[in-house]
Symmetry: C2
Subunit: 113 residues, 2 copies
DNA sequence: CGGCACGGTAAGTGCTAACTTACGGTAAGT
DNA sequence: ACTTACCGTAAGTTAGCACTTACCGTGCCG
């Protein structure tokens, strides 16, 4: 599916540029390539990656392929990130609490003295 | 700034493993490396990247460096992703409204606070 | 005070992937 | 039917980065 693949997909700067462009509305491959410093085939390959990550969807119109953002993949990314966010907050709160109590350095570590 | 840098940081699988490990609580560099298939220096380098992206924070305890998740970077990522998600939804709604086409797509519209 | 554990940095290597040009296949216009 | 436009794929090159070993500074304990 698309568990963490979305992060891999958005890890590339060119792919993020494509997403940024698609934020303002659907566009064809040629239009996307025209606004980017790379060739059309490169854009096509990036779109393939984004599509496999569920971040974009395609709508064929004649020989032109109109790409648009797909909410599906972004929703998955969002929930992943939300979990991380919650755990980060919990860890932060726990650390702050331990700090307030005492200088406790006791954890479930297997580090022998 | 580190607006999108977080996506770059989370684009690497080893770095995501580190984050996953830190979800359960703080850990030292040696502990992190012990649970990963890479060497300690590699972990150190990854932690540097994560720290520069604002995703982790350090707490020096003697010669040991205790790393933990930092809510700051995740908050930034979250808002970035929220904007993208909203635009994706808007684009989808506009497209669906313009045409009644059925692409066999299946997405849920859950909108948290 | 001398050895030891911990971890960050330097230098070098290999593999992944982003990019290129070239080609083929499909749909629309004339 | 021929031509033109649009796009995906193949093959090959190159640049970046993840990883390694080696080294050094720092803080604990004997």
């Amino acid at each position: 599916m698309v568990p963490y693949g979305g992060f891999e997909a958005l890890g590339d700067a060119t792919r993020r540029s494509i997403v940024e462009r698609l934020r303002h509305g659907p566009a064809s491959v040629g239009e996307l390539a025209a606004g980017l410093p790379v060739s059309r085939p490169a854009v096509s390959q990036h779109l393939k990656v984004l599509a496999e990550a569920g971040l974009v969807a395609v709508n064929a119109a004649g020989t032109r392929r109109i790409y648009r953002l797909a909410p599906h993949g972004f929703a998955a990314l969002r929930s992943e990130l939300d979990q991380l966010w919650n755990d980060a907050l919990a860890a932060f709160a726990a650390a702050a609490e331990a700090e307030g109590e005492a200088d406790g350095d006791d954890e479930r570590h297997e580090r022998p003295a």
